[in-house]
């Protein structure tokens, strides 16, 4: 049984379908790319997995449970937006994460912040956008979670920051966990992906091992993506 399972998962925004009966079974211990253009349903799927949206049909389960306190204790989530309170300091945020998440590794977070030159007494609102995003990433990846859901972690940052983010993800995640990265910047993440899911207009159009797809299609995942999602 996969750690992330969904059966007929459906979500509408008004009359607009965002997800149309998604079925998925994702095993732990791999890095999964949830790939699709803007508006394909990636963020909707991730928010449903976190219990921030309620489905209109079907269900999603994390480790056998529907989204709730039990799943939230094992899921580390990085939204595609800024969400940390601006008035809070980095040190206070580490305490917050340590208070609420048993799997939060505070010493790892301290070390990562030190390597970035981010002081514990800095407030979120005093930082640049890029630095805020790094703080969010560090807090998320300092958890030894069973599921990491990273929504567009490299969107909106410069190439150097992208490399840093991907290095941080690779070097800090729990290897027994599943890491799901949603993005439309395929070429940047392709090299680290074990599993690939293409999502288009709320439907899963492809799901398989990255190596198998490359061997079968004779092209990179990025090239295949451009072909599948050609405008």
């Amino acid at each position: 049984m996969g750690i992330i399972q969904c059966n007929g998962l459906t979500k509408y925004y008004g009359a607009v379908p965002a997800l149309k009966g998604i079925d998925l079974d994702i095993e732990p211990g791999q890095i999964v790319g949830l790939l699709g253009p803007n508006g394909s349903g990636k963020t909707t799927f991730i928010k449903l997995a976190n219990g921030l949206l309620t489905p209109n049909g079907g269900e999603i389960r994390i480790n056998g449970n529907t989204p709730g306190p039990a799943t939230k204790s094992i899921v580390a989530y990085l939204p595609d937006r800024e969400f940390l309170p601006g008035y809070m300091k980095v040190g206070a945020l580490m305490k917050y994460y340590a208070d609420f998440f048993r799997d939060f590794n505070e010493s790892k977070a301290i070390e990562m912040f030190r390597s970035l030159g981010i002081q514990p007494d800095m407030t979120i609102r005093s930082m640049s956008k890029g630095t805020r995003e790094k703080v969010q990433l560090v807090l998320c990846m300092s958890r030894e979670a069973q599921v990491y859901l990273l929504d567009e972690p490299i969107g909106g940052v410069d190439p150097a920051a992208r490399d840093y983010i991907l290095r941080t993800i690779i070097s800090n995640y729990n290897p027994r966990a599943v890491v799901m990265i949603s993005t439309h910047l395929i070429s940047d993440v392709e090299s680290i992906l074990d599993d690939v899911i293409f999502i288009k207009e709320g439907n899963i159009v492809l799901h398989g091992k990255a190596d198998d797809i490359r061997a079968e299609k004779g092209m990179s995942v990025d090239a295949l993506f451009r072909e599948v999602f050609k405008c």
Partner: protein, 262 residues
């Protein structure tokens, strides 16, 4: 988990309200000192007028900010950008609602206490410390026979009525969240609607509104030696408890089955 949420909630509200309380109390001390000072001073009237104006302003700000902060904390922390953090901690929906409600009760209470201290700081320098006891007796109108049960009852009723108000706010915000546009306007309209419905229901049962209940406790009790546990005072409180329960269910239901964090 509730204790942890409450810790952070109180800190978040405290950074806004504590400076306001400090401003109120400092101004009250200044006002009291000025009132007790040499009234032949040339600038006396100007200083009194200015200090009075400031004091009224700060009192008003404290009252409004208590309400605004409670509304904003729920709106932003649950349905806003901070909801991406708050609602991903491993706490149940019930825990989140209780956290917000208890926090609202605490800050309403602190605002009342700040107001009482402000009044003391304003009046004691003028009447003199030795007259404070006499002043309290005058307020109580001597004939009152307040029992410990009355005190406990007043506290319980204050908690129920204030808690019901907080839950009404949260339910209104939650209903507003259901629409895609003008969510704040919708929330305000729903709050007004809930308030009207409550007043109508109380009227149908021949009961006073909650505002009149509060007035009755201070007006009726001393003069007739009436105790708190009377039907005209208990009735609205039982309804407050019932309304509060309904608002809780509305809020819980929307957060459980209709949450759509954008």
């Amino acid at each position: 988990m509730l204790g942890k949420l409450l810790k952070y909630e109180i800190r978040a509200v405290g950074r806004i309200m504590l400076p306001l309380y400090a401003a109120l109390l400092i101004l009250s001390v200044v006002f009291g000192a000025v009132m007790a000072s040499d009234q032949n001073m040339d600038m006396y009237k100007t200083i009194i007028a200015f200090t009075t104006l400031l004091l009224v302003l700060v009192f008003t700000i404290v009252a409004i900010m208590t309400l605004v902060t409670i509304v904003q904390r729920f709106n932003k922390n649950i349905y806003g950008s901070e909801g991406y953090l708050t609602l991903t901690v491993p706490a149940s929906i019930a825990t989140h609602i209780w956290n917000k409600t208890i926090s609202a009760l605490i800050w309403f209470f602190f605002s009342e206490i700040a107001g009482v201290f402000a009044l003391v700081f304003m009046t004691v320098p003028v009447m003199g410390v030795e007259n404070v006891g006499t002043a309290f007796e005058m307020i109580r109108k001597v004939k009152v026979d307040i029992t410990p049960l009355d005190v406990v009852s007043i506290i319980i009723m204050a908690v129920v009525i204030t808690g019901s108000l907080a839950l009404r706010i949260y339910a209104s915000i939650s209903v507003g969240h259901l629409v895609s546009r003008a969510q704040n306007v919708c929330g305000i309209a729903v709050f007004i609607g809930f308030t009207i419905v409550e007043a109508v229901i109380l009227n149908i049962f021949g009961l006073d509104s909650f505002t009149n209940v509060t007035m009755s406790i201070s007006d009726n009790m001393p003069e007739v030696g009436m105790h708190v546990l009377t039907p005209q005072l208990l009735g609205p409180c039982f309804f407050a408890l019932a309304f509060g329960a309904i608002y809780y269910v509305i809020t819980w239901g929307i957060m459980k089955y209709r949450l759509n964090l954008q």
